[in-house]
């Protein structure tokens, strides 16, 4: 019936579901009470081959397609324990993809086999007491000292941060540089100077959430993931996956809630009839079921795009927003069907009700999702995808005609405010800035469509010209935006991240824009 799942997917689903029903679900109450999930369940899952589904075989993974991950998350969603589900969601989909995509071979060999076998658990340390939604604003520093970095600072709300093994930590290697100073560094939980405090929280009881502090932690330089200064870009690139995996789990969580509600409603009697005969309750089920069904179709659509390597920021943000908000609605209304029993821990709704509450906060709050969507549909911003394999760019345009029309007219407006400076003037202006910094070592081209400006940094200094070569990195933007960039009225990092400025080629080169224009 389904166009997304093959028979193999379904077999996988059955075996995973059977496993969870036998090995996990009967124990979850206890784990919730213990405020932690014991290690051996992950080991069992690793032994069964349930972890590392789409990780390459060379690290012990199965190299399967993305719809296995969809099944994995759907089945986790059915366990009715956000705390249980989140441990592996963080390890497999939020933390370790950074190592897989950008880490050195040595790091991959060291950490990936362990998270795939279930021996290791990892976390992603972004949020700090003073910076959550505004991740650029983190304060934790990693200062190079010979073959080590010395890390100081703190992180908070870190899932797996108490009982995990290592932390993919977002640090500032250049505290002065804003987003361009952000790097990813692997800290091990047992390193000297790392301490964790376990936080008490509303829900997700079987998951450990930590406040971490780093006090002069000495971290080998080889623990750096990818290159210095590119951490923010790595993070942004991973966010779509992080947001997307929340969606299938949300769908099945809602389905499960409706399922248990229907069961209860057929058994419970009031005023001499099963409560499933009361029309308002029936219609509430109909309404919720419709919304869940629509969300499910949308979830599959977004997952299919992702599986086809199409990086659609708008869709992923929309899906995360709608999925987490629907979970709250479903949990609230389904709890109501259970009356007083809904409030009791023996019945499933109490836990779901408190667990779903974090959905609209973590992984980008609903407000941040709406900010992103608004930028795309109102300001007509496009988003770029640096492909995982190379440096090619797939450009996604927003499909809302209003959005596109808007960006054109905005540019037109900007043109009338900013004097239409000639290309020679621009060359002069940028030459003076480019001369002040070290040679880029590569060629960087600004493409305005009809005209181009190229900085050739392959010689001893940076030469600016209007030539149009095949550059290592091409930046497409309007002249008006270029002017804003040069005059410091447009933050290059934001412009790149938001897609207002489109980059093709060497992303690293583009990251140097900040220093060129600051």
């Amino acid at each position: 019936m389904s166009t997304f799942f093959t028979e193999e997917h379904e077999l996988f689903r059955q075996s995973l579901r059977a496993f969870l029903e036998k090995e996990a679900i009967p124990h979850i109450d206890q784990w919730e009470e213990d405020r932690r999930t014991p290690r051996d369940i992950w080991k069992k899952m690793g032994d069964m081959g349930f972890l590392g589904l789409s990780y390459p075989e060379e690290y012990g993974g199965l190299g399967l397609d993305f719809f296995y991950d969809v099944v994995f998350n759907e089945e986790l969603g059915r366990t009715n324990s956000g705390g249980f589900a989140i441990t592996q969601q963080v390890t497999q989909y939020m933390s370790c993809p950074n190592i897989l995509k950008y880490g050195s071979e040595e790091l991959k060999q060291k950490y990936l086999p362990g998270i795939i076998s279930g021996d290791l658990i990892s976390s992603i340390g972004i949020t700090e007491p003073g910076a959550g939604s505004d991740a650029q604003n983190i304060k934790t520093t990693a200062i190079k000292d010979g073959d080590h970095y010395v890390v100081n600072g703190s992180k908070t709300f870190i899932t797996n941060g108490v009982y995990g093994d290592f932390i993919v930590t977002v640090v500032k290697t250049d505290p002065e540089a804003g987003a361009a100073g952000v790097s990813l560094l692997i800290l091990e939980q047992k390193m000297e100077g790392v301490s964790a405090r376990k936080l008490k929280k509303l829900g997700w009881h079987s998951s450990d959430t930590a406040e971490l502090s780093f006090d002069n932690v000495k971290v080998p330089v080889k623990n750096l993931i990818g290159e210095e200064g590119r951490g923010f870009y790595y993070l942004m690139n991973g966010l779509q996956l992080e947001r997307l995996v929340a969606v299938p789990a949300a769908v099945t969580g809602c389905e499960k809630a409706i399922e248990v509600s229907l069961q209860y409603m057929s058994e419970r009697e009031a005023f001499g009839r099963p409560i499933n005969k009361f029309q308002v309750l029936r219609h509430r089920i109909a309404q919720l079921a419709s919304e869940v069904e629509a969300l499910k179709a949308f979830s599959y659509h977004c997952c299919e795009m992702y599986a086809n390597d199409i990086y659609d920021v708008k869709l992923c943000s929309m899906a995360k927003l709608l999925a987490t908000e629907l979970c709250e609605k479903v949990a609230t209304e389904c709890l109501q069907f259970f009356g007083g029993y809904g409030f009791m821990e023996e019945y499933p709704m109490a836990r779901m009700y408190r667990d779903v509450r974090v959905g609209t906060i973590g992984g980008g709050s609903s407000e941040i999702m709406r900010e992103i969507i608004a930028k795309i549909v109102i300001d007509g911003q496009g988003y770029v995808k640096p492909k995982s394999s190379g440096n090619g760019i797939v450009e996604r345009k927003t499909s809302t005609p209003g959005g596109n029309g808007k960006s054109e007219s905005e540019n037109g407006k900007a043109g009338s405010v900013i004097p239409d400076i000639g290309i020679d003037e621009i060359v002069k202006g940028i030459q003076s800035k480019a001369s002040a910094v070290d040679a880029l070592g590569k060629t960087l081209k600004f493409d305005f469509g009809d005209e181009q400006i190229t900085i050739d940094g392959t010689g001893s200094d940076n030469q600016v010209s209007t030539s149009n070569p095949n550059a290592d990195c091409t930046i497409k933007l309007s002249k008006a935006d270029f002017h804003k960039l040069v005059s410091g009225n447009l933050n290059p990092m934001n412009a790149v991240m938001s897609g207002q400025v489109k980059i093709d080629g060497d992303m690293g080169l583009a990251m140097k824009l900040q220093s060129l224009f600051s």
Binding site: T3, I258, L262, M265, S266, N276, R282, H283, I285, A286, Q287, A289, S290, E291, E293, A294, L295, A297, F298, Y300, H301, E304, K314, L315, S317, M318, A319, L321, L322, E367, M369, R370, E371, I372, I373, A374, V377, I378, T400, P401, G402, G403, G405, K406, S409, E410
Partner: protein, 384 residues
């Protein structure tokens, strides 16, 4: 081009859109005032083949896949006239659907062929003053008399009910039975005893909504459409496509509302800045856009299944429920973005607001849809 739409679909959309921009859009205000559509617009649609998109070639149709119908509905919604959409849609979607599926060869020659050409216009008359949601309770009777039937009763809220050339009418051939007593008939407008009056209404102004009386109307027995006693089943069968189409109308109208609203928000200034800079308004647009995108993808996924022959009673009900609810919500919120201008007829939202309101009433009210969904979900009822 997407997963669902090919290049041919896209170019059809282009040409249909420019046709509508030229032949329809400039006239909508007048038609809204007139309370009806002029005959020649049906003929123009007919000449272009737009009434025959999914109809068999032998009757002048184009026999295209159903995605063309989706495009038709999506583009019609951009005209911002629920009334235009209703009249121009009810003819092919309601009246011609029944004739295509249940009609005899003779009926097809007499009604489907001119229907596709746009030279004859039809309507579908189910609702009566005392029976709307409860279709089984219709009272209009068709009593056999030799090789004729004699029709008595009345219908109300019928789209194209005053001006159409022929009516597909739901009658009781056996008044003692409920659903099983229902049969369909084709009645020509000029048959003696048929009279109709215009109804004045909140929105859908460009459409003639009629109350119709049948006073001893005599028609040949050969005007029965399909088999005796099967009428209720026919109606239910075609509800799936009608509801899917109304769901499309819901998100497509919403999309169009967002489009015009974004434009306005980019022009209007308050407190020294464009109103599209105010965060609450931005987030409202973001939320609506997300919901619209979801409903749209939901509908597409259902059409893909429908195209493979799945019978989607529950799902089509879900889609119509969500699509029309969303349209109400969208119009209310988009009108708000226009401030006082939103209330003025010179701006598009006033009409969108009143036209959209019908979505949750016609073609099965939201409550009836919930009944259907609840029966499937709770009582395990399966629809075949």
């Amino acid at each position: 081009m997407t997963k669902y739409f090919t290049e041919e679909h896209d170019s059809f959309r282009q040409s249909f859109r420019s046709f509508l921009e030229k032949e329809v859009k400039p006239n909508i205000d007048q038609w809204e005032k007139d309370g009806q559509l002029p005959r020649d617009i049906y003929k123009k649609f007919g000449e272009m083949g737009y009434f025959g998109l999914n109809r068999p070639e032998e009757y002048g149709g184009l026999d295209l896949d159903l995605w063309y119908g989706v495009i038709f509905d999506e583009e019609i919604a951009r005209m911002n006239s629920g009334g235009f959409g209703a009249s121009i849609g009810a003819h092919p979607m309601l009246a011609l659907t029944h004739i295509t599926h249940e009609g005899t060869e003779e009926q097809k020659q007499n009604y489907l062929v001119p229907g596709i050409l746009g030279t004859k216009v039809g309507c579908l008359a189910i609702t009566e003053p005392s029976a709307g949601s409860d279709v089984q309770s219709v009272r209009t009777t068709a009593i056999r008399d030799g090789d004729e039937y004699v029709i008595n009763g009345s219908k109300t809220f019928i789209t194209n009910g005053v001006l159409s050339d022929f009516l597909v009418v739901v009658c009781k051939t056996d008044p003692d039975q409920k659903a099983k007593g229902i049969s369909l008939f084709i009645i020509d407008r000029d048959t003696p005893g048929v009279s109709a009056t215009f109804l004045d209404k909140l929105g859908w102004r460009a459409s003639d909504t009629g109350e119709i009386a049948f006073d001893n109307v005599r028609i040949p027995a050969s005007n029965m459409l399909g088999a005796e006693g099967q009428g209720f089943i026919y109606i239910m069968q075609h509800f799936v496509s009608e509801r899917l189409a109304m769901a499309v109308g819901g998100y497509a109208a919403s999309e169009y509302a967002i489009e015009v609203t974004l434009k306005y928000m980019n022009e209007r200034e308050a407190f020294g800045r464009k109103i599209n800079r105010f965060q609450v308004l931005r987030h409202r647009i973001a939320q609506l856009s997300a919901e619209i995108e979801m409903v749209k993808q939901f509908c597409y996924s259902l059409y893909a299944r429908y195209a493979k022959g799945e019978y989607l009673v529950k799902e089509a009900s879900m889609a119509k429920l969500l699509g029309t609810q969303l349209a109400d919500k969208t119009m209310t919120q988009c009108l708000q973005m226009f401030g006082g201008y939103g209330y003025m007829e010179e701006y598009p939202l006033a009409r969108m607001f009143r036209d959209t309101r019908l979505g949750q009433i016609g073609g099965g009210t939201s409550e009836i849809l919930c009944e259907i969904i609840a029966k499937a979900m709770i009582d395990g009822r399966s629809y075949k």
